[in-house]
């Protein structure tokens, strides 16, 4: 368990980066985790150069979901919209740097789901869409 709650995860959990909401987000979306009731909203502002100049998240959830949301917002600042659309499940797992089992996977990916649903303009973004097997 010590490995699971590593120092950088606890740091992001205790001092979340980009916490809050935006007044005029270009994209905003809230996603839910049916397993534990966690909620995360991600707001994104895109400037005239098509780059993310402001991003925030707000929500409640476990240390893993909060830390991954904090890390995700930090990662996408300054990125182009196209680059944001390319972010994958694997990118998040790499950011976290700890083994994530099937049960905690939804916690780890909740902020990415909200982000993707927002930028793609869909109600639900299924990150495991192609995982038929």
């Amino acid at each position: 368990m010590d490995d699971f709650y590593k120092e950088n995860i606890l740091d992001h959990y205790r001092n979340p980066r980009n916490a809050g909401t935006l007044e005029n987000p270009t994209y905003t979306h809230e996603s839910h985790n049916p397993l534990c009731g966690d909620v995360i909203r991600v707001d994104l502002h895109i400037n005239e150069d098509n780059l993310v100049d402001k991003v925030t998240f707000e929500g409640k959830g476990c240390a893993i979901s909060q830390a991954s949301a904090s890390m995700l917002t930090e990662m996408i600042e300054g990125k182009s919209l196209d680059e944001v659309k390319q972010i994958s499940k694997e990118d998040i797992l790499e950011l976290l740097g700890i083994p994530i089992g099937p049960v905690r996977m939804k916690c780890a990916l909740l902020s990415l789901k909200a982000l993707k649903a927002g930028v793609y303009g869909v109600e639900e973004f299924d990150l495991e869409e192609d995982e038929d097997w």
């Binding site: 049916p34 397993l35 534990c36 009731g37 089992g101 099937p102 905690r104 038929d132």
Partner: protein
């Protein structure tokens, strides 16, 4: 090499005496026996990692969840589904068909629509449609079946039309044994825009199944007829159809979000699995599929053709017997209904029981078919992976005894 004498050793229940005689179990069409590996898999779960699935953040629950979901994938592969998300666990084939009749039927069937089924359906694939048409004002029509148990495909062609929204058909009759031409039925039904539900309760345990080759839309079957436990069944349907269907039962595990005002549904397949599922039973079914894969479904089918061929020859020698269904073993499964003169099937079965032989007597949940054949009941012997020709000899000798006693 497929050797039923070796296979029998894996089934603890078969090694016992009934009325002082070795058990001859010829009622697998009603429910099959279980190999030790299935019983052990369920035992292992209860002894070592029982816990609820899907929400536990602890090792036992993660293991239980993984085992439950692995069983789903085994089922999906076994019938060649496109995705494990197309596999819904239910209690049995009956519940699977009811799920479709309520969830899909209630939203897609309207007054004036027609549902086609056949005259040789099990009540499970008949009563839910009678109820659906009563609720919606649609019409239920029956594809005729010949004396020998063949579907009247010319009549089917004539019954098809734009009003037909669903064809609900057995893949293998549990009375006549008939294997129906699913591929042909699906092609013709799709041509008029109708969907096809296949009742695979008898066929899936006994022959290779490939839903992509069938090209059907729904497939229902039960675990307990295919070496698995009771209490677990399967509904397979195309993902895009399932996605548009409302939930059948509602409650825990099938939601993504609940407020006092309303609820959102979980993803497939969990949208259709409200409440704590039959976890041990799903794991048992997974073990049953492992066992069947080990045997090889083409071998299972071949063994059954051999037994059916022998049964028609050997039972055909019994005086006064009438065997129902197609006489051609490759056109049918190994469930053989018969009558013996005017002796009531209950008397036949009771005398056979005295000889240690288990067969079924009655209407086999197909009363309309028996009405059509002018019968109140029949006796049925049905075979599976562990049956041997010697048991058919025992049945034939038992029937001679019945005749001596009551004929």
């Amino acid at each position: 090499m497929y050797d039923p004498n070796i296979i029998r050793q894996d089934f603890p229940i078969l090694h016992q005496q009934i009325n002082g005689k070795p058990l001859v179990y010829l009622d697998s069409g009603a429910s099959s026996q279980k190999p030790a590996s299935v019983i052990e898999a369920m035992n292992e779960y209860y002894r070592r990692y029982h816990s609820n699935v899907h929400r536990g953040i602890y090792q036992l629950s993660e293991k239980a969840s993984a085992a439950y979901e692995t069983a789903r994938k085994k089922v999906g592969r076994f019938i060649n589904a496109r995705s494990w998300r197309e596999i819904i666990f239910t209690r049995n084939a009956t519940e699977s068909i009811n799920l479709v009749a309520f969830s899909w039927g209630q939203t897609n069937i309207k007054a004036g629509d027609v549902i086609l089924t056949s005259e040789m359906e099990h009540h499970a694939n008949l009563v839910p449609w009678q109820q659906l048409v009563a609720r919606t004002g649609a019409t239920l029509k029956y594809i005729p079946v010949s004396e020998q148990g063949y579907l009247d495909m010319a009549a089917f062609d004539e019954m098809l039309g734009p009003q037909v929204k669903l064809v609900a058909i057995t893949q293998m009759s549990n009375v006549m044994g008939t294997i129906t031409p699913i591929g042909d039925i699906v092609q013709k039904a799709h041509a008029v825009g109708a969907l096809v539900l296949v009742d695979g309760a008898q066929a899936v345990p006994h022959m290779p199944t490939d839903v992509q080759a069938f090209d059907c839309d729904f497939l229902a079957f039960s675990g307990h007829k295919m070496l698995g436990p009771t209490g677990i069944g399967v509904l397979w349907a195309r993902k895009e159809i399932l996605a548009d269907m409302p939930p059948f039962m509602t409650g825990g595990d099938m939601i993504s979000r609940v407020t006092f005002e309303g609820s959102d549904w979980n993803e497939l397949p969990w949208k259709f699995e409200a409440g704590t599922p039959a976890i041990a039973e799903a794991i048992g079914l997974g073990a049953a599929i492992d066992y069947l894969n080990e045997l090889g479904m083409p071998n299972v089918r071949r063994h059954e053709i051999e037994l059916t061929t022998y049964a028609f020859k050997r039972l055909g020698q019994v005086e006064g017997i009438r065997l129902y269904g197609p006489p051609e073993p490759t056109a049918r499964g190994g469930a053989i209904a018969f009558s013996l003169g005017n002796i009531h099937p209950h008397d036949v079965a009771a005398v056979l029981d005295g000889e240690g032989i288990a067969v079924r007597a009655g209407h086999h949940c197909a009363m309309p078919l028996h009405d059509k054949l002018g019968l109140t009941a029949t006796t049925r012997a049905s075979f599976y992976v562990y049956n041997i020709p010697e048991e058919i000899d025992r049945l034939a000798e038992g029937l001679d005894k019945v005749r001596e006693l009551l004929g």
